[in-house]
Symmetry: D2
Subunit: 317 residues, 4 copies
């Protein structure tokens, strides 16, 4: 499925220098379909505030709750609307090699700049199997590999990364295991994006990480930009810490979904199995927005608590 | 699934002025997947030779042999690579209203400029059903309606067209019933593209048609451009007639697929149920290319007869 | 995808003797999903009244409005619930050879007794292509081929049938072209089911047809059983003719869907592009039921006219 | 999508008494499609040797490497061929509530007796989200809930189980956390199947478990039957331990896939990301088969080591 098209084709090198990548939220209409108008506004705010890349349909964007045709459509849509202003990184990974290969081919065909690839979560495999899986997809174009054992049930050990890093398409790793692991990679020339918002400041300024693939930047893109570009800034980092802790109190993107609805930038619609944070947490969020400053958050409306019955939960869509 | 994106958004008015639209061939790799490199070359040749629009995945492009994810991907790919140079019209029609609505939403989301909509072939419906079907999809964006009773088993009568033409998204009709019908529409202000290559010269210059949605232009785009833009030219029309007759000797795109393979611009790979024209017809094609002039056809290689065993027929892909 | 399972496996010979096959209606819930409870009741009534086979997801059953997973599920469901009492013939045909092969494999895997195969409608192909298409699917199990040029836009000529009839899996043909064609086949040993309710009496008793694949039997299974088993009966045939004409006044299954809703055996839910017959026709139906006798129709409730606003039309489901 | 069909409909009570359930292997043809002939033979051996249920498309059966249409087809096939002899439990769980609901509806429609439901792996959710997820699917029919934090990244805590156990459709839990947790449930009247072969003897005879959902029983069904039915038998348990350790040396089903190929009952075909165990491990397996006795294993052929190049790995299928 080769194409000689080069308009948006990016090399792994172009990806390696990107510092602030937002794992963008996917907003929904009340019937559960994508709300592309809200989505476009979210992406646009990221561009305006200085994010250089978006992960489309990541765990934050709930790619695992999309059908593949929705997912590829969203990647194509993002490229078409914003591909000239921001790197579009499609989460075309899967625990099925077949699915990952198919989705990655399609993602590159519709113009994504790079792929995000997870190791086979849930099904898991041997180290040899991991290498086979990643080699199957790395041949198709630039890729970031994503290690998050707390979700996948299996750590990708450095020796697997070093093996697959032979591929010129390997841009780097989104690492969630911690800053010692980050250092282990950056000391050896492997590009790392920190996958934990609470560790990203230290990863960037103390452990050699290139940047962050962030959830919090959905809310405060300008501050996250400052954190990644503005030099060591423990004071800003501390200021953000309560927000980050709040965001990850429940599995992501539960906190993020709740927060963006409270900020009035997305409809309060959840695809199950996600449900909003309880009222007490929503009250906390309003307070945090005031502490950090409404102007640092996305959107223009007043932050609201929202009542339980304002949320719509959809199981069929 | 609204988007505020306007980069490629085209109004029905922009479509109405387009004269030469090519129902572009979809080429395949030996395993039956799309050959995007060959596809991009085909589209590029259309742009260079003056086509102003392409139908992606039409009957000529074998949309009915695609899964929907392939189909939408190909639309997104075409927009991404060529959307600035040519109008991309996705054949997101279906005999199932659900499928047509879903595909049309996705097609616009990935940036197509207009949709091509067929009436429900095979299943058919009542005139009230036709109106409901077309109204369901016309609300989503600019559209051309396609009438080809020899394929669908059901003529779309003018009164249905006049009813749905109330929609500002109705750009016009691709009509295959003949030039009297064409005139009936153009006399009443409905834009028409002739759907039959053998009638398009007369439709354009004698019956008020705006242009053609052409199969032959896959082969001789420059001559078809001349036929639509250069004024009345019965001599050129006559010169092309044997080629057009050859092309439609068997159901399209059998002739086209065979011809493009012989011209060396696509691999000789057929998705079943299509099979190549027999040897005698392939010999005839070589002769016609010489008569009309190799330089008027796409591609640079010598035209070849090709042996039976050079063709690959794929049933699983 | 071979299976050594033989429990329900039927040979083409077993199919050849079946006389009354009902192209069973698929009923829907208000959200457009299948109403399996109503469906099971419909199939059960067929069994009780003497039908020997059902076509699942035929044009009458709106297979063209199903996703393939729905379609295969319905076949598997029917086998599971009724496979011991009635022949389950899955309409796993398609205009795409790939789809037909995949669906037919799956249909046999879930236990269907035979497949119904259409020629490639809308896309059409050459006679060689027709043979390749049918041979691709005939290798998978017993099959009935379906010829309905008024829907497909292309007649399957006898020489194609005689070629593919070499396969031991070819059970016979559902022929809609007329009784001269029927005779042409039965004179040559090809089993025929009449595909037109208005011609089936004569086909059966005058032209050698084995039986009928019927739409009307959804409504009056006992009378259709009598028509196929009870010997020449021009009086019964005449008595049914107004009902049959009413049924096919608009493209099938519009009339059938309307009638079954009026009889209270299915909810008045239509998947677009089908819409109900207008009020005047619904009034006519009530009268015909009284003329023919309510007791000859399926269901127990009084036949009703139904108001326009009692019908639900669904475009997304 | 209700059905009044009762032929195979099982109540949660019928499931609660089943002791030996095999998480059946899905075998493949060299092109990666299902090998139904081999599958049927595997299921048949389970029935002959005394298994009372099979999990279709579990993690062992590689449901996560199936498309949903394949998965539902395999459930329907199993019901159709073997539903009278063994309980067919479809793994229609998913980390997407939509997928789980849709697949579960379809699985019950094709006759499965019960569903296996996992918590949302990888995506994870809050405890409230877990309850919403399980309640969405428990309304559809009898279900076993599956807790395997080493795969899902999230433990299902007892309070969630006790909440959803209010549903009459909750048959019990497949628990992998260990025998203390097993006891915690069985003391409170929740039915438990041990999900770890190495702990199942003790779970059954010392901690109140009803039985096991076993991987090892794919290989030695008769011995696993003995272990679950024959009373406390530490000697048999010890005898099996080296085999069980070998099986789980790499993530399941890598060991099982390798072993069944060595026993000659399935083709040596792996869907990626699974790859066979290395040569040294294959040699070990031959030795273990001899120690335990070839006659206790499935199949009739001599156990073989198999060379590396005898294995076929498929990434596209």
């Amino acid at each position: 499925m080769r194409s000689f098209e080069v308009k948006n084709r990016t090399s792994a090198e172009d990806i390696k220098s990107v510092r602030l990548i937002t794992a963008i939220k996917t907003p929904y209409l009340p019937d559960g379909r994508f709300d592309l108008e809200a989505y476009d506004a979210l992406v646009n705010m990221q561009i305006v505030k200085g994010a250089e890349g978006v992960i489309v349909g990541g765990t934050t964007g709930e790619g695992h709750l999309m059908s593949w045709d929705e997912h590829i459509m969203l990647i194509g849509h993002t490229v078409n609307c914003f591909g000239g202003s921001i790197k579009v990184i499609g989460n075309t990974g899967s625990n099925s090699t077949r699915e990952a290969v198919h989705a990655t081919e399609q993602g590159f065909a519709v113009g994504m700049h790079a792929a995000l690839h997870i190791n086979p979560y849930y099904g898991k495999t041997s180290l040899e199997g991991l290498v086979s899986h990643f080699e199957s997809v790395l041949s198709l174009g630039p890729a970031i590999i994503y290690n998050v054992p707390s979700r996948t049930g299996q750590d990708i050990p450095p020796r697997v990364i070093h093996t697959v890093a032979q591929s010129p398409n390997m841009a780097g790793i989104k690492e969630c295991v911690g800053n010692d692991r980050v250092k282990q990679y950056t000391d050896n020339g492997v590009v790392v994006w920190c996958g934990n918002d609470d560790q990203c400041h230290d990863a960037r300024w103390g452990y050699g990480a290139t940047g962050v693939i962030s959830v919090a930047s959905n809310l405060v893109p300008g501050l996250m930009r400052e954190l990644m570009f503005g030099g060591k800034n423990p004071s800003l980092n501390s200021k953000l810490m309560p927000l980050i802790e709040w965001l990850f109190h429940e599995p992501n993107p539960i906190g993020l979904n709740t927060a963006l609805a409270q900020l009035g930038v997305v409809r309060p619609v959840f695809r199950l199995p996600y449900v909003p944070l309880p009222l007490a947490k929503r009250v906390e969020f309003v307070k945090m927005v005031k502490d950090i400053g409404r102007e640092n958050f996305v959107g223009e409306e007043d932050v609201q608590v929202l009542e339980d019955d304002e949320f719509i939960l959809v199981g069929r869509y």
